[in-house]
């Protein structure tokens, strides 16, 4: 049988920031369609950098990243916008446009699919408006559709962000510390929302998390980063709790 082709593939990827900070060091990694991958590691270990190289919010300095076998490194302009429009992203600070309505925030997920003039004039197709309503119903926020985004609580704002991502109809969802500023109850709701997108629509989800228990609860596969290097990569069935000690070891403490 032929081996399955990975959806996202990192080949010897390195990233050094302009100020000399090492973001990633020779990372080799294959992520497959439909996986729920959690990336763990200390602050500054390169988790955010890794996530942001996938949609080219950060450019890599060495190596290559392919999505569906196609290299994304040379992408620019329109082609880059097209790539990004099918990769959803969730942020720690939600990044909603606070003074706009919830509906408009959700529709923002769709602008990458519209020609500039149409989106600028606010002409969205009836199907997309219906889809926006469905997206909000999925996260239990249907009644807030005409509210201003800044009237919502943190957890609600993050759920609007999830609805926004759902609008994109993405193949891949990148979530950068999606629950770091939320209470435990809301945290579970948000993680459940992500898990549902993963289960129902086979969307590949990659999440950065600080919390080990959450990683164990939701991940299909856990990846550990330390000082920009990939130090851990196991599917959930193989993971044991002792493993995390090595991931969270201080850099100086490595033998």
């Amino acid at each position: 049988m032929m081996t399955k082709q990975p959806l996202i593939s990192f080949k010897n990827v390195s990233k050094i920031y302009n100020n000399g900070t090492v973001g990633l060091k020779k990372v080799n990694l294959d992520i497959f369609q439909g996986e729920f991958v959690v990336i763990v590691g200390l602050s500054g270990a390169g988790k955010s950098t890794l996530l942001r190289t996938i949609n080219k919010m950060h450019n890599i300095t060495d190596g290559d990243i392919t999505i569906n076998g196609e290299s994304i490194t040379p992408l620019k302009g329109k082609k880059l916008c097209k790539l990004r429009s099918c990769i959803g992203m969730i942020f720690q600070n939600f990044n909603l446009v606070k003074r706009s309505s919830v509906l408009r925030n959700v529709l923002i997920g769709r602008v990458g699919y519209y020609p500039t003039w149409k989106s600028v004039l606010g002409i969205f197709s009836p199907e997309d408006k219906k889809k926006a309503a469905t997206a909000l119903q999925r996260v239990n926020l249907a009644e807030k559709i005409y509210a201003r985004a800044d009237e919502l609580s943190g957890g609600q704002q993050q759920r609007v962000a999830i609805a926004r991502v759902f609008m994109q109809n993405p193949k891949i969802i990148l979530a950068d510390e999606p629950v770091a500023s939320l209470d435990p109850l809301t945290t579970n709701a948000i993680m459940d929302d992500l898990k549902n997108l993963n289960r129902e629509f086979k969307m590949t989800v990659i999440v950065n998390l600080h919390s080990v228990p959450l990683a164990l609860k939701y991940a299909d596969r856990i990846i550990g980063l330390r000082a920009g290097e990939l130090v851990y990569d196991k599917t959930i069935t193989e993971v044991s709790e002792q493993d995390f000690k090595t991931i969270y070891q201080e850099e100086g403490a490595i033998r």
Partner: protein, 262 residues
């Protein structure tokens, strides 16, 4: 270890503050000597000032009928000038904003042009436009348009630079292009400030345009100059009162609106 450190002599005797005060006072004294400002002259001429006030104390209220039309013209000039200036300033403001335009060259050139425009005083502009398009309100509108352009573009790009960058990142990650980012992430964050600054500039322009007429650029200023040069201080008084009323009304109107907005 954990002791409060001693202050240096400079800190203890406030040397810096005293030095600055002395230098500023000296500058003030020297500049008054060098420009030949004579204080005794100021006070001895005070009588003339009160005489003038006395002649203005009997306003020629009949003149009000003549004044209404040019006052309205003044407001219209200010409104037109501010609107044209703002419309042209908006694209420049986005080009000059550090968080939107990464290219140092584009930003640098834009800012250089804006700085250049801002150095031109409004009276100079008025004199220039009166020479170009002739005496009349057209010159006034052009003057105010350029004056507001310089002011608005700076106020606007500084506003754009203070916005949250999170929404921009979200739009970028969703595959939006520059224009879509501006429309969906930037404008909602700045629109209230933009309107507030527009009103503020309009307010300033109403005041400025009363003077512009002095140079022949239309509006009430023309009549102000005419009455003064024909020593009809009773008419001058009416004009000043009319301007005062209009400016107070427009100021308080725009202030109320701006408070509602922010």
């Amino acid at each position: 270890m954990n002791e409060i450190p001693k202050r240096t002599i400079i800190q203890k005797y406030h040397v810096r503050g005293i030095l600055i005060t002395v230098i500023l006072s000296l500058l003030l004294i020297f500049s008054s000597i060098m420009t030949g400002v004579d204080w005794s002259e100021f006070f001895s001429n005070l009588g003339q000032f009160f005489a003038l006030l006395g002649r203005m104390a009997n306003p020629d209220w009949q003149y009000l009928n003549v004044v209404v039309q040019p006052i309205i013209e003044t407001i219209q000039m200010a409104l037109l000038g501010t609107t044209i200036g703002t419309a042209v300033a908006i694209p420049f403001a986005f080009l000059a904003a550090r968080n939107l335009v990464k290219s140092l060259l584009v930003r640098g050139v834009t800012r250089f042009v804006l700085n250049l425009v801002r150095t031109l005083p409004d009276l100079l502009l008025a004199a220039l436009f009166v020479a170009i398009v002739g005496i009349g309100p057209t010159a006034g509108v052009w003057t105010l348009a350029i004056f507001s352009f310089g002011m608005i573009s700076k106020l606007f790009y500084e506003t754009v630079e203070t916005i949250e960058k999170g929404p921009i990142e979200a739009l970028r990650a969703a595959g939006a292009n520059k224009i879509q980012i501006i429309v969906f992430a930037v404008i909602p964050q700045v629109i209230n400030n933009f309107i507030s600054y527009f009103l503020y500039t309009f307010e300033i322009n109403v005041r400025a345009s009363t003077v512009l007429g002095y140079l022949g650029a239309g509006g009430i200023g023309v009549f102000l100059q005419r009455s003064l040069s024909s020593f009809r201080y009773d008419q001058t008084a009416v004009i000043i009162i009319a301007i005062l009323i209009v400016v107070v009304i427009i100021d308080s109107l725009s202030n109320t609106l701006r408070e509602r907005l922010l």
